[in-house]
Amino acid sequence: MDLEVRGVSKAYGGTRAVDGVTFRLPSGKILALLGPSGCGKTTTLKVISGLVSPDSGMVLFDGEDVTGLPPRERDIGMVFQNLALFPHLTVEENVAFPLEARGVSDSVARDRVRQVMDMVELDGLERRYPHELSGGQQQRVAIGRAISSNAKLLLLDEPLASLDPALKSEVSEVIRKVQRELRVTTVYVTHDQSEAILMSDLLAVMFEGQLDAFGETPIVYESPPTQSSASFLGATNQLPCTIEGVLEHEVMVSIGGRSVGVTKPIWWRGTGNEARLLFRPEDAKVVAQGHGVVRGKLVGLMYGGSRVVARVQTDYWKVECRGNTSRAYSALSSMLGKDVGIRINMERTILF
């Protein structure tokens, strides 16, 4: 089922929680709605589900306007942030709930529930109650309940937020499996960019109720269209530069007196000479003075497990570098307070 959100806005009091959000999600794809807390992604999800009515705009399923339809008539499944399992019903009853609510016959429901329990690996737990399950098991019950009625649209509201890393991996695997097998159109809300990138076909970044970026995940990640998206997607370092020339696939820029070529963003329509180069800490590495694109003073150093986190004060701003492996830690320690260079992977920079 195709999902289209068109010009949806929603305000609470004087605050616009969602402001003119528009996107289209083709059938069978997963869209990750990414953004910081309070950016409007959960509200957008609730508008799609019908739990919240928009002030303006439309929601369309396969081109049909469902904005005025109550949630129960939209044929969707949802995994809530706090799971919202029915505490007084067993696992089996929770999973069967959407079927029973829609009047599906007992025999059909039984078969379906068995299928779903198998898919989400809950066999043997049918008669347990939610409070008797582990966090991961509860999450799987929530997923099972969301898909049991063959819903055309699956909504997931921060499903991994409360899980530890081991469980996150386990549950995300279940989600991927479910999506793969059912090919159900899915909207996945999260504030965790690595989760969003791993889980999605399409990526949307939201800030302050507005859609800042939307597109195929690799493209949005590699070439975010705005500085705010780029920062949120990890490109937290920036350096000023001067544009020297624009080629077909490259832009020549001058940084710190040196001329380098950087990948031209696909949406590039840059005018003027002054620009800003954004890049991710993992694409920056501390090197000896005289090497690298820019120089600065090494002012901070932390051991980060597999990587070293270094902070270099340049003539412009502080730059965080995570490109050095932990083997370089002791060598870098001796350079603390001294002038160093920064090597940047120019292919992965983002120019604004």
Partner: protein, 547 residues
């Protein structure tokens, strides 16, 4: 049907249970007696020095009742919120007993406590080796204030306990770790949070004390209140004007209390961070507070205990009955009430009416709360309208019902349905609070999930919401049942030759000058009510906490 029409119908249906209930049980009966109110008379009353003095006296008494209730309640509330121990719920139940047993029991017990030859004077006289009386407080405003503290201190404790429980633990820890004195910690961590709860409990005790009339009549001696004046002038137009004045005053006060409580309750329910964890009662301060709690609860129970002791004893005013006698109780079962019914009939009538009342009240409350849960405006209206019972004298409401339905268009006089209607009128507002408190604890996401997964409103109600509040439903039933058993005003009004409840049959025995049998019967009523309340406390903490 057009969408707009359907929406309008749904809206109307949302309001229907509440408005139907309010109209039938309150509006029509009250209108039938209040229409005779004279505006000019009302104005002249407001300038009458006697009425002004009565109002001032009543207000002073209400303040005097409130202050000690709150001061005594604070340490106990803090203790219950802070310390974990087995029997906490039992303590709360025992504490609430004076509130649940019939009012006459507490008043009678206070007479036995405070009289010239009461327990207190006997103990003081023995300690000081002088002849009693040592204290002469019965039949005065002091006695009324003491009675009110007995009645309302438990309510204050429960409200304040909620406040103490919601104090941010991290603030307390931060203050203590910084080396702050207990006084400074009190100011920084507790004061802001507690002020609304102290205000709410104070206003509640004040309002109840203000509209009192049975306590001043029975033990106030020459002290009198505004409600007594209304009662004294019943069936005269001036009474309606006074009643209207008091109704407006106390209704506005009740709204203020409830508006404040509305704010508090929502905050409390949604606040999950910083709830004070409970400490085992092992510290010195914990033990001291436990001792205080036990002493206070024992004192609270004393009036009820004295009444019970007297009902099975052949002597009067004793702390420990020595000559136990169940003769009167046994004789009750052989008593013909002179109206063609025996005691067994009275018991069956009482229990049957109480069962029907409890079931209907639970049903009505579920309907009302259900609609209130769907629409915020209905919920607010529900809160406002169901505060009426706090402001209306029961005898006025009973009179209105008699005129409206007893002899009015329904002609129900002589039928048990009229008694049941009276009971329902005062019980539904009480149990609606219990249900609502439980209902709001259902996670909104669980409700959203039910709706999203295709559940219609009814399906969601039956399959999700009702099962989740099942303990509150059972507790409400028990609360309604025991309230109906012990209710007197409406039962007395509507009883007939063949139809009476247990408290009314006690009054009949008094009319027949059989005080011994009446005392035994009252003891039995107290035991039944306390048993029902004990069951309630076991089923649901909500019912104990909600006022």
């Amino acid at each position: 049907m057009a969408k707009g029409d359907k929406g309008g119908l749904v809206l109307a249906l949302s309001y229907l249970p509440l408005m139907a209930f309010f109209t039938f049980f309150y509006a029509l009966p009250i209108l039938s007696i209040l229409f005779s109110t004279d505006a000019t008379q009302l104005v002249s009353l407001l300038g009458d020095p006697y009425i002004i003095r009565l109002t001032v006296d009543t207000t002073v008494q209400a303040i005097a009742s409130t202050v000690p209730s709150i001061m005594l309640a604070i340490p106990l509330a803090y203790f219950l919120s802070r310390y974990a121990f087995r029997g906490a719920n039992l303590l709360r139940y025992l504490l609430l007993t004076p509130f649940f047993v019939p009012a006459f029991a507490v008043t009678e017990g206070i007479i036995l406590m405070l009289g010239e030859r009461g327990i207190l004077n006997q103990i003081l006289a023995a300690l000081l080796r002088i002849d009693p009386p040592v204290l002469d407080v019965l039949y005065s405003m002091v006695a009324v204030v003491i009675a009110h503290v007995f009645y309302y201190l438990p309510l204050a404790v429960l409200i304040l306990e909620q406040g103490f429980s919601s104090v941010d633990r991290e603030l307390v820890d931060a203050s203590e770790v910084s080396g702050a004195s207990w006084f400074l910690t009190l100011k920084v961590a507790y004061l802001n949070r507690m002020i609304p709860f102290v205000t709410a409990s104070s206003l509640l005790v004040f309002a109840f004390s203000f509209i009192t009339y049975s306590t001043p009549i029975l033990i106030g001696g020459k002290f009198t209140t505004l409600e007594v004046e209304i009662y004294s002038t019943r069936a005269r137009p001036v009474s309606s004007s006074l009643a209207l004045f008091q109704l407006m005053f106390t209704f506005l006060l009740s709204l203020a209390i409830l508006a404040l409580r509305e704010k508090l309750y929502v905050k409390d329910a949604s606040s999950t961070r910083g709830r004070m964890p409970k400490t085992p009662v092992l510290t010195t301060s914990g033990k001291v507070l436990l001792g205080y709690a036990i002493v206070l609860v024992a004192i609270e129970l004393l009036p009820v205990y004295l009444v019970l002791a007297q009902s099975i004893s052949s002597s009067t005013v004793v702390l420990f009955p020595t000559a136990l006698s169940l003769d009167n109780l046994i004789r009750l079962f052989g008593t013909e009430f002179g109206f063609g019914i025996g005691f067994i009939d009275v018991i069956l009538q009482s229990f049957s009416i109480a069962t029907v009342v409890a079931l209907f009240s639970v049903f009505a409350s579920v309907l009302i709360v259900w609609q209130g849960s769907k629409r915020e405006d209905v919920r607010k209206l529900m809160t406002a309208l169901l505060s009426f019972p706090l402001s209306i004298s029961r005898s006025s409401l009973a009179l209105g019902m008699m005129l409206c339905y007893g002899f009015g268009f329904l002609r129900l006089y002589g039928s048990w349905t009229l008694i049941a209607a009276g009971h329902i009128a005062i019980i539904v507002p009480l149990i609606t609070r219990v249900m609502e408190a439980s209902w709001t604890r259902i996670s909104p996401e669980v409700r959203d999930a039910a709706e999203l997964f295709g559940a219609s409103g009814i399906f969601r109600l039956l399959k999700v919401e009702l099962p989740l509040i099942a303990p509150a439903i059972v507790a409400s039933f028990l609360l309604a049942f025991s309230s109906s058993i012990s209710e007197f005003t409406f039962s007395n009004f509507f009883s007939t030759l063949n139809l009476m409840t247990l408290p009314v049959s006690a009054a009949v025995l008094i009319d027949l000058r059989r005080l011994d049998l009446a005392a035994a019967l009252n003891g039995l009523v107290i035991v039944v009510v306390m048993a029902a309340e004990a069951a309630t406390s076991l089923v649901s903490e909500e019912a104990i906490r909600v006022v």
